[in-house]
């Protein structure tokens, strides 16, 4: 069966736009309106960040969002509820839950897969759970028809990248910057050169993320990748817009979406 994510890539005929949003941030009530604002701005897939107390792969912007979301009472259960609500109100976009391993682990991987299937989460990306045969996550996700998005970095050797890709589905998240999220500006030309390497390693669609800040970045990277992911830049926009967060998010995405044709 073709997953909703795979179908979205196939149907688009252009590079996809994938925003990342920390769930429960700035508060629990904000997530629903923000998801719809991203959809209105032209998002093709949404990555929802599950807040964690120790986000060691994230830069200051996403760290702060994680802390504030936890302070507001967010947890994995509330994230799943937010997705259920989004679906209940007719939201159709594929949803990826991206987070650190421990909240998923604590919830239980089998239970997680079942809950994803129930509420309509399409994929899991466990940041610090390197995919291997006995990691416990792949089997339950596969059984529930939930994709597993996998990370490949600039420093990942080819042989390892192949092994990771084999255990992934939906898409590969290519971490274009060697650093934490939002830490620097990407060199689009060099990143484009790396896209070729990944093409030879796997047939999965490749989404590029880390350091994408403008419509121009999207245009240049969209020429070489199947999707672009925007995270820290979007959270900055939401943070700074305060009461106008939803419309600011929509506007930023619409601008980026227009560059992806």
């Amino acid at each position: 069966m073709t997953s909703r994510i795979a179908a979205t890539f196939t149907a688009a005929g252009r590079p996809l736009l994938i925003p990342y949003l920390t769930a429960g941030w700035p508060d629990l009530a904000a997530t629903g309106p923000l998801l719809r604002a991203l959809e209105a701005g032209g998002a093709d897939v949404i990555e929802i960040g599950v807040p964690f107390s120790d986000p060691s792969a994230d830069g200051p912007v996403i760290q702060q969002a994680n802390q504030q979301a936890l302070a507001a009472g967010a947890n994995l259960k509330s994230v799943l509820d937010a997705v259920a609500d989004y679906r209940h109100r007719g939201g159709k976009l594929p949803i990826v839950l991206m987070g650190y391993a421990n909240p998923f682990y604590r919830y239980g991987f089998t239970q997680l897969a079942a809950s994803c299937q129930t509420v309509g989460v399409d994929a899991i990306l466990a940041v610090d759970l390197p995919p291997c045969d006995d990691d416990g996550l792949g089997v339950p996700l596969g059984g529930a028809g939930v994709d597993r998005v996998v990370l490949i970095a600039t420093t990942t050797p080819d042989e390892r990248a192949k092994q990771i890709a084999k255990r992934g589905s939906g898409y590969i998240y290519y971490v274009a910057l060697q650093g934490v999220t939002g830490s620097a500006t990407l060199d689009p030309d060099q990143t484009a050169a790396n896209a070729k390497r990944l093409r030879n390693l796997s047939d999965l669609p490749v989404a590029v993320g880390f350091g994408i800040r403008s419509a121009q970045d999207c245009r240049r990277l969209g020429a070489h990748f199947d999707a672009v992911i925007v995270g820290s830049r979007l959270l900055e926009e939401i943070r700074d817009a305060k009461d106008n967060a939803a419309s600011a998010a929509t506007a930023l995405l619409a601008d980026m979406r227009e560059a992806l044709t």
Partner: protein, 358 residues
């Protein structure tokens, strides 16, 4: 059951350990593992470390029969005097080993995390000796309560990076050091000071500190005529709930949602929500018993050791001392109890004086 065949090739001690890092760090951890495995049985590497430990650190550290503490606690108390090492704690043993590994790997910059500052001081010390730039991540809370060690690190030429996010303690310093490392993997070596983190760190830090135990095994029969009936040492956090943090799976202090709990300990060096994976395994197998000490028990042990033996123990080490009475009650007055006096207490004067005024 021997610790010698643990961990397995993937870095697991039973169910604990492993490599749980985000993909951008994976290659750096793999590179480190490869480098360490190739040097682990190299006699020249061991020789270089041993020579440095002898002439620079002052090893072997003595074992001391604490007669007045023995009387106080009701058993024969012996102290392994790691407090007499250069820089005042056992942490230097590991720092010496890892800096030599870093140099052989061609790394030119060192980063470290520290809680009480003892590992930070040890790292700053070996970096000064090797002429390598050194950045030490330290929680803002810990900077306040371990001010003396902060000054020591600065005098040794290290740069202190205060960590204000999260709880401002050791776990947050580790997060921040990991963030630095991932951005600078090509030239930077991350010198972890505890038997924690992704494989091979728990193995490596254990190996470099195993010198303490090897010495004891030789020293006790010579000095006392017998091996000890019990050995007591201090270790940081943990609970009975498995989880994944800082590159490892082990017992963590966490809530029902898998969020890591803020911790509180009078000893900054033990103020950490996880326990190293080998400890978790030793707990599972029943080889080691893990017990807790309250701040008040620790302060009482600190005072006893200071007044009765003229030795100010680190508050971390005082946790081990605080358990001696318990062991004496169990094993009797002839029991030979060896306590690892892991560090000196000079760094803790402010904390102790503040609490004594209460």
């Amino acid at each position: 059951m021997s610790a010698d065949n643990q961990p397995d090739a993937a870095g697991f001690f039973g169910a604990h350990g492993g490599v749980f890092v985000a993909e951008p760090l994976y290659a750096a951890v793999a590179e480190l593992d490869k480098a360490y495995q190739s040097l682990r049985d190299d006699p020249n590497f061991a020789k270089e470390i041993d020579a440095t430990l002898a002439t620079y650190v002052g090893r072997p550290s003595p074992i001391y029969h604490a007669k007045r503490l023995s009387k106080e606690y009701g058993c024969e108390v012996y102290l392994k005097r790691e407090d007499l090492n250069h820089t005042g704690a056992h942490k230097i043993n590991n720092a010496v080993g890892q800096i030599m590994l870093a140099r052989r790997m061609g790394k030119t910059r060192i980063i470290a995390e520290t809680g009480a500052g003892q590992h930070g001081v040890a790292t700053a010390t070996v970096c000064a000796r090797e002429g390598m730039p050194c950045t030490v991540y330290m929680g803002a809370e810990d900077i306040k309560r371990q001010a003396q060690n902060v000054q020591r690190m600065r005098l040794l030429g290290a740069q202190i990076a205060p960590v204000k996010v999260g709880t401002g303690t050791l776990k947050d310093a580790l997060n921040e050091a990991m963030r630095d490392w991932v951005a600078n993997v090509a030239d930077t070596y991350y010198l972890i000071g505890s038997v924690a983190g992704p494989h091979p760190y728990p193995l490596m830090v254990r190996d470099f500190n195993a010198v303490v135990g090897r010495e004891c095994v030789e020293q006790m029969p010579a000095a006392v005529g017998a091996q000890p009936d019990a050995v007591i040492a201090c270790v940081g956090g943990g609970s009975n709930a498995l989880g994944i943090l800082h590159g490892m799976r082990s017992y963590l202090m966490q809530d029902a949602d898998g969020q890591i709990s803020g911790t509180s300990s009078i000893a900054a060096g033990l103020d950490y929500p996880a326990v190293g994976p080998e400890h978790a395994w030793l707990h599972d197998t029943g080889r080691v018993r893990y017990a807790a000490a309250t701040d008040d028990q620790v302060l009482a042990a600190f005072t006893a050791c200071s007044r009765l033996e003229g030795i100010l123990p680190a508050l971390e080490s005082a946790h081990a001392l605080a358990y001696v009475r318990e062991v004496a009650n169990e094993l009797g007055k002839d029991a030979i109890v060896l306590v690892n006096l892991s560090g000196r207490g000079d760094k803790d004067l402010a904390t102790v004086l503040e609490r004594s005024d209460d």
